[in-house]
């Protein structure tokens, strides 16, 4: 079974803090994704990566950056967290041309 794990299930941070969200997949997938999920808005793509050290902006990249130094790990970084970034963050991975497998999500609250 494909396993996508995320470093934290729940996280509470203060405004202005730097926040790191980690995602690890164990199936040698090329592609990895970060989404945020908000009530009434569904899933929105923040960034994705199709190879190590490669990244592409999704629909809402503002305020976020990513890092992919190893194939199995994809990190989402909030350089200076704001209350508008309070959300559920979902990581996913896929083999090219195949379905995306999602992690359990990290619920981030910024106060």
């Amino acid at each position: 079974d494909v396993k996508v794990t995320q470093s934290s299930r729940y996280l509470v941070k203060r405004t202005g803090e730097k926040v790191f969200l980690e995602c690890v997949q164990d199936m040698d997938h090329e592609n990895m994704f970060w989404y945020r999920q908000d009530p009434g808005l569904g899933l929105r793509l923040i960034y994705f990566s199709y190879d190590v050290k490669m990244k592409e902006k999704g629909d809402i990249p503002e305020g976020y950056s990513v890092s992919r130094e190893k194939k199995e790990r994809f990190s989402l970084i909030l350089e200076s967290a704001s209350t508008s970034q309070t959300s559920m963050y979902l990581c996913a991975s896929s083999l090219s041309g195949n379905e995306q497998y999602f992690g359990p999500g990290t619920r981030l609250t910024v106060t």
Partner: protein
């Protein structure tokens, strides 16, 4: 206007009822249509996908696509409490297009025992 519209519900039905979920969309380039199921405190998992117009059946689940009306549906027959989840529609111009999935907001369903 959102590219994909989905009634957020919530929907509450008794066990054994038929659950009907719908999405409408505006982009005529969409060819592949997917339904994801998301249990509480879990990530979404792919339930079914269909191509172009028509029906697809998988056990108690039936997905329908009407491209002329830009309307897709998911029916759950003989619903069970284990079907209680949020259901998200997603669509793409290409099958499993790696970065062009457009999601609906999700409909939360509760099946009462």
């Amino acid at each position: 206007q959102k590219e994909v519209e989905q009634d957020p519900g919530p929907l509450s039905v008794p066990e054994g009822a038929i659950v009907s979920l719908n999405c409408t969309y505006s982009n005529s380039a969409f060819q592949y249509f997917m339904w994801y199921r998301q249990y509480s405190r879990k990530g979404p998992e792919l339930l079914m996908y269909t191509y172009s117009s028509g029906n697809k059946e998988d056990g108690r689940f039936t997905a329908q696509v009407d491209k002329s009306s830009k309307y897709i549906s998911l029916f759950i027959r003989d619903s069970q409490p284990s079907d209680s989840a949020t259901y998200l529609c997603a669509m793409s111009p290409l099958l499993f297009n790696d970065y062009k999935l457009s999601f609906g907001a999700g409909t939360t369903v509760t099946v009462r025992a």
